[in-house]
């Protein structure tokens, strides 16, 4: 049960009655008794809460940052009309900050035997599954003095998918892809290119691409054209260990990595390549393999939705062996991990020959713009020591990247805003060079 402000107001007005007419203990008993009697009558006449029936509907997935609407249907099987304040409770991160109070409360009037729908608008601020908590109903009596209150469990889950903010870079990369794809043949030949067609020699073509046999059969000089091979295999490996938990700006490194992986997946799928996903820290967290082209992106976003950085060290040996199992043939392995010296030197470097023996390996790491800000610090002693420490960190990262490059790994180190387009460009460059 719950009281309303009217009850308190009524009791306060009763003070006038006590002061003017009945200045005694009996007067207080009389006035308070009358107020309590009205409260009890109101409680008895209010529509029951326990027998209400609820239903749910609406969105089950939403991109992070966009609003999702969830419906709540309230059926009032009793004969009495329900005048109620309803709270549809969700975890705090399911609401846009500051609006939880207003967005979760609904004022409903449901005549006896009918049902009504309330629409709750959620704007999740965290990736992952958001589960509804409980529905609390405060059913007011006809006098508005008191209310019956009770809670129901009406489960519903809204999955907040990664925002894929880098999809704005997709059109420009697709245009570049079309340039090197079959629609525009290239004259350079590499490992991953296949013969496309013969065409007439034009001034400016590389003379090395002239096909002399074909030229001999016809009256003009013919050149061979090539196009990048399609149907290559790409394996995106996400390291969700402790190095991915570090916050860069106001999001963990992992979020930028997910964004980069999604842009690469979207681009590679359009280019006709197959993309698989592996997320691994101390153990395999999730793996998506063998999806057809049109369902791979939804499958990836769904798998990424509830990935959270783990706070322990990544087991690189297990990660590499799982990746090798998922890539039995020559593949492009994109490793989204950190460039910190210790884990790379001790964990990854001894195992790299296993990967680079058969596969093309790209290692992408999210750099911290705060390092640049620190390195630019001058003027005070504190700022200069900060600059020295930042330069030292950057030098360490560079040294690690250099050592990896000597192993034949393509290393990317870019801040969160640029990592996704940089990875897409690297992919396009590798494809154009026929190295896939």
């Amino acid at each position: 049960m719950a009281l309303t402000g009217r009850t308190a107001l009524l009791a306060a007005l009763g003070a006038l009655v006590v002061g003017l007419l009945l200045p005694s203990a009996a007067g207080i008993w009389l006035v308070t008794g009358a107020v309590l009697l009205a409260v009890v009558a109101d409680l008895v006449l209010a529509a029951p809460v326990r027998s209400l029936r609820f239903g749910r509907g609406g969105d089950t997935t939403v991109r992070l940052g966009e609003p999702a609407t969830v419906e709540l249907t309230v059926t009032n099987p009793s004969g009495r009309p329900l005048r109620a304040l309803v709270r549809d409770a969700w975890a705090p991160s399911a609401w846009r900050p500051g609006t939880a109070e207003a967005a979760s409360r609904h004022t409903l009037t449901v005549p006896g035997g009918e049902r009504r729908r309330a629409v709750t608008v959620l704007t999740p601020t965290r990736r992952g599954d958001h589960r509804s908590h409980r529905v609390t109903v405060r059913s007011l009596g006809p006098l508005g003095l008191a209310a019956r209150q009770g809670s129901h469990l009406v489960p519903w889950t809204v999955r907040a998918l990664p925002p894929f903010a880098s999809r704005k870079h997709l059109p420009s990369r697709l245009a570049r892809l079309r340039e090197l794809d079959g629609r525009t043949s290239v004259l350079t030949r590499g490992q991953g290119t296949e013969f496309d067609s013969l065409r007439e020699y034009l001034p400016g073509d590389d003379v090395r691409s002239i096909d002399w046999r074909a030229s001999a059969r016809r009256t003009t000089v013919a050149v061979r054209t090539w196009r990048p091979e399609r149907d290559r295999h790409i394996l995106v490996v996400l390291d969700t260990g402790r190095t991915s938990a570090g916050r860069v700006g106001d999001a963990p490194r992992l979020d930028a990595s997910l964004d980069a992986a999604l842009l690469l997946t979207a681009l590679a799928t359009r280019a006709g390549d197959r993309v698989d996903l592996l997320a691994h820290d101390a153990r395999k967290r999730t793996a998506v393999a063998g999806c057809s082209a049109h369902e791979v992106l939804p499958a990836f976003t769904d798998a990424m939705a509830d990935l959270e950085p783990a706070l322990h060290e990544t087991d690189m040996r297990s990660l590499v062996s799982t990746a090798l199992k998922m890539a039995p043939h020559r593949s492009l392995i994109v490793l989204l991990t950190g460039l910190d010296a210790a884990p790379v030197e001790d964990g990854l470097r001894p195992l790299l020959p296993l990967l680079t023996k058969r596969h093309e390996v790209v290692l992408a790491s999210v750099a911290d713009p705060r390092l640049d800000a620190l390195a630019a610090g001058r003027g005070t002693l504190e700022a200069v020591y900060g600059a020295a420490a930042a330069e030292q960190t950057r030098a360490d990262r560079r040294a690690t990247a250099d050592r990896l490059t000597r192993h034949g790994v393509t290393v990317l180190d870019a801040p969160p805003a640029q990592i996704a387009p940089a990875l897409a460009d690297t992919y396009l460059a590798l494809k154009a060079a026929g190295r896939l």
Partner: protein
């Protein structure tokens, strides 16, 4: 945010066997959950009542004639009664005595001026005041004042003191435990047990009786009577008359009636305080209204926030704490050389340019700068103090600027 949409009418009743979603416990569930707590509560209440009923434990204030405690005064009263004295305890000291008697006032300062006047007018044969203040002295023992000369406090610790006077009771008792507040004897008074600048016991004749002013009642306590001449002095002072009246002070009484400031309630017309009580009831109802939540607070596990730059900032603090100027300068110089090399077209060999080639290229680009300066800046000795480190950082910046825009 909130919108309610009526769903088109009649809907199928919720299926009869629908799983109940209500979380509100039923009456039976509440009873099942709460019964052991209620049983425990009942046991505690019963136990507490039993203990309270069995052990009636009164505690009396100090110098209460009914108290058997160490600081009580039952022993002296019992001794006097065994010698045939009649004793009575009163809460009203203003009554006139029927026969010659001794009145003991353990806390004369708690009496109002009117009561003090009444006591003075009641003509007790002997009045014993324990540690009276100026007001009580003026009313009951005129001529005696607190001994405040020499600027010292009118106070001395309680200890065994020789009588040193002609008061018969004191002479008989010899030394006794006296002290506490010190008084002057005045012109007519008879001071005993002299201490530094006053007397803890003064007798002064008033009318046909006398008044005994005591600095402290310690020697009357149960624990004290067996020592020194305390018992003798107590019996002598209190047993001079056939009756003994002992005032039981009302410690809860307000200090002085006319001194009480008028409070807010004095300005409210009578009867309207009942309306105040009714307002209090309304306040309780308002508290219940505001205190009831619409469902519990929803808790959520939040991810740990670890800033990625934390280790770098920690390293900066370590450098500073250890005054690692050499290391810091080395890092800054290496970074500057790494940035200068591509601008000057010097190749990097294992991550760093060749010093000689870099200095030569820089000298070529900046002809007006001595070549030695660039080498000292980039490969010189570590800075010796903080100012040198700050200067080095600024000079490296300046060099980079000059190389890029000569």
């Amino acid at each position: 945010m909130t919108s309610t949409v009526p769903v088109p009418p009649p809907v199928a009743e919720a299926p009869a066997g629908a799983a109940p979603t209500s979380l509100t416990p039923t009456g039976r569930g509440l009873w099942r959950r709460a019964r052991w707590y209620l049983a425990f509560l009942a046991a505690v209440l019963i136990g507490a009542t039993a203990v309270a009923a069995l052990g009636q434990d009164h505690s009396y204030p100090p110098l209460d004639p009914r108290s058997y405690d160490r600081d009580g005064a039952h022993a002296v009263v019992a001794l006097l009664e065994r010698q045939g004295l009649k004793s009575e305890f009163t809460t009203d000291p203003t009554r006139s005595p029927a026969a010659p008697d001794t009145l003991v006032l353990p806390e004369p300062d708690l009496l109002s001026p009117a009561q003090l006047r009444a006591v003075a007018a009641a003509r007790h044969r002997r009045l014993v005041l324990i540690a009276p203040g100026p007001a009580a002295l003026t009313a009951l023992a005129p001529g005696i004042r607190l001994s405040e000369d020499d600027g010292g406090l009118p106070y001395a610790s309680v200890r065994s003191t020789p009588a040193d006077c002609s008061l018969p009771e004191a002479v008989r008792a010899g030394s006794a435990h006296l002290g506490g507040t010190l008084y002057t004897s005045g012109s007519r008074g008879d001071g005993c047990y002299p201490r530094s600048h006053g007397y803890p016991l003064v007798r002064i004749p008033v009318g046909d009786g006398d008044v005994i002013v005591l600095g402290s009642g310690t020697f009357l306590r149960n624990e004290q009577l067996t020592q020194d001449g305390d018992a003798s002095l107590a019996l002598g002072l209190l047993g001079s008359q056939p009756r003994l009246t002992w005032h039981l002070p009302d410690y809860s009484a307000p200090l002085a009636e006319n001194a009480r400031p008028r409070t807010f309630t004095d300005f409210i017309p009578s009867d309207w305080h009942w309306a105040g009580y009714q307002l209090a009831v309304a306040a309780v109802l308002a508290a219940l209204w505001r205190g009831r939540r619409l469902g519990p607070v929803v808790a959520e596990d939040l991810p740990v926030v670890v800033r990625a730059s934390e280790t770098t900032e920690g390293r900066a603090r370590l450098y500073r704490r250890a005054k690692a100027r050499g290391r810091a300068a080395e890092a800054l110089r290496r970074a500057a050389a790494h940035r200068l090399a591509p601008a000057l077209g010097v190749p990097l060999r294992s991550g760093a340019p060749d010093p000689d080639a870099l200095c030569a290229a820089a000298a070529d680009r900046l002809p007006d700068q001595p070549a030695g300066d660039v080498r000292a800046l980039l490969y010189g000795p570590p800075p010796t103090d903080d100012a040198a480190l700050l200067r080095l950082a600024d000079d490296l910046d300046a060099l980079e600027r000059q190389v890029r825009n000569p």
